[in-house]
């Protein structure tokens, strides 16, 4: 996972989106669910290798939430 400042997050080798809205995007990964929490979150791009998120990222949580 790459974080660029507080405005962009790139998640590599994901296993799909579990749920998403403007405040939280939960992504399935090999390490378990990854939650990106913030405001005005948007999925900018998504393909098999990566998901690119934009918005005001406040925190990233790993594991079951």
């Amino acid at each position: 996972m790459e974080l660029k400042g507080g405005s962009e997050a790139v998640v590599l080798n994901h296993r799909g989106v579990i749920a998403y809205d403007e405040k939280e995007v939960r992504i399935a990964s090999a390490l378990g669910p990854v939650s990106v929490v913030g405001a005005e979150l948007r999925i900018r791009r998504m393909n098999r290798e990566r998901i690119v998120l934009n918005g005001k990222i406040r925190r990233v949580e790993l594991g079951l939430c």
């Binding site: 799909g16 989106v17 948007r42 999925i43 791009r45 998504m46």
Partner: protein, 404 residues
């Protein structure tokens, strides 16, 4: 840019499991981007329009509906243009002309000239074949420069630059050689006209006259040469001499003249001038013959940015008049002639003023004659070169008294 070249569609997806829909698209390698969440069950995004069918199928497997909101991109623009053939052809023609037309000369500019008129340089260019509509690549800048410099000797350097349809001529003029004031050599100051000296100021040299002396034209006032017992001193005389002089002027004017009286009739003629060709648009310029005043106003057609086209519009306004006899009253004639006599006398003096005098007016059968006699205080000094030795001395014929 790439997404503009390919047709792109903006879609709206509605369903209970929108995240599943995204995962299915990802698994099927269906690209999507610019996703924006509208609500819990609705999101919008952009996709490649060519893959809309697959997108719909995968979305259906995730129990989601897909609705196309709009399509855009170059293919959409082209399909719209197909229904407007004239616009399409016009656009293509405009693009072609924009590239092609740059090869011709449309505007000429001259920069750097101060004393040489711009019209002279433009006329020289015209005669050398560089004008509105000339094929640009045919202009040989170096050769043209040499030919223009031959035509206009006042220029010492020229550069001709062509940028698109604009030809800019940069010119540099030769510097004018100023004639330097002569400050060397032996010289006298002599009287330019006769008078009685009132004031003599000597800066250099030897005063030959004093205030109160009557001098004639050519008399030496300040000498540059002084002979002493055993030596001769020579210098350049400098100074000013003011004297009382007498100036006489004679003027004549006719008793009767003719005065213009406008009839009120007017005519306006408009002519279009393209380079040297003229085409009358309206009006008749010979309607009044020669009994009219002509006022011509010329206006250039200019594009925004100051680019002048070689087209001018001449608007000629004709005002008809008739000539009626007018007799000049004696008083008016006297005033006119007197003022003119004073003005003429003042103009003839190098420096100075008219102090007193009078003008006598005499009327004959067909004219008024004025004789002005003016007492002036004026500068009468002028500098002339002096010969140090006379011709006899140069030829060896010196005074023999001492040897006898």
């Amino acid at each position: 840019m790439l997404s503009f070249l390919r047709e792109t569609a903006e879609i709206e997806v509605t369903g209970a499991s929108t995240a599943l829909c995204l995962n299915r698209w990802t698994a099927a390698d269906l690209p999507f981007w610019a996703l924006s969440i509208q609500s819990e069950l609705v999101f919008r995004c952009r996709i490649q329009a060519a893959r809309l069918g697959e997108i719909r199928r995968e979305a259906a497997r995730a129990w989601c509906d897909v609705r196309v909101i709009r399509r855009f991109g170059l293919p959409v623009v082209l399909s719209r243009l197909r229904s407007r053939p004239v616009l399409t052809v016009g656009l293509l023609l405009a693009v072609v002309l924009a590239f092609f037309l740059q090869s011709f000369v449309w505007f000429l500019r001259v920069e750097g000239n101060e004393r040489v008129p711009e019209e002279e340089i433009l006329r020289a260019l015209w005669e050398e074949g560089v004008r509105f509509g000339t094929w640009g690549p045919s202009i040989d800048s170096e050769d043209l420069k040499n030919r223009i410099l031959n035509r206009i000797p006042a220029l010492c350097w020229l550069a001709v630059n062509r940028e698109g349809g604009v030809v800019t001529v940069l010119a540099a003029e030769r510097e004018r050689e100023e004639t330097p004031l002569e400050t060397e050599g032996v010289a006298h100051i002599v009287a330019a006209r006769p008078g009685i000296i009132r004031k003599i100021s000597v800066v250099n040299g030897f005063a030959d006259k004093k205030p109160g002396d009557l001098v004639l034209e050519g008399d030496i006032l300040i000498s540059g040469i002084a002979e002493w017992t055993l030596r001769i001193q020579a210098t350049r005389a400098m100074g000013e001499v003011y004297a009382d002089t007498l100036r006489v002027s004679e003027l004549v004017c006719p008793v009767s003249a003719r005065k213009k009286v406008y009839t009120g009739r007017r005519e306006t003629c408009v002519t279009l001038v393209y380079e040297r060709k003229r085409r009358k648009i309206s009006g008749n310029s010979s309607i009044f013959g020669t009994s009219c005043d002509r006022m011509i106003k010329v206006s250039n057609w200019t594009l925004p940015g100051g680019y002048e086209l070689p087209v001018t519009v001449e608007t000629e306004t004709l005002l008809e008049y008739t000539l009626e006899p007018l007799e000049l009253p004696a008083r008016q004639a006297e005033t006119l002639l007197r003022e003119e006599s004073l003005r003429l006398t003042q103009a003839q003096m190098t420096a100075g003023q008219i102090e007193t005098g009078s003008a006598a007016i005499q009327k004959t059968q067909d004219s008024y004659r004025c004789r002005g006699v003016w007492n002036c205080l004026e500068l009468i000094s002028k500098t002339i070169p002096a010969e140090l030795f006379g011709e006899d001395e140069v030829n060896g014929k010196t005074d023999q008294r001492g040897t006898d």
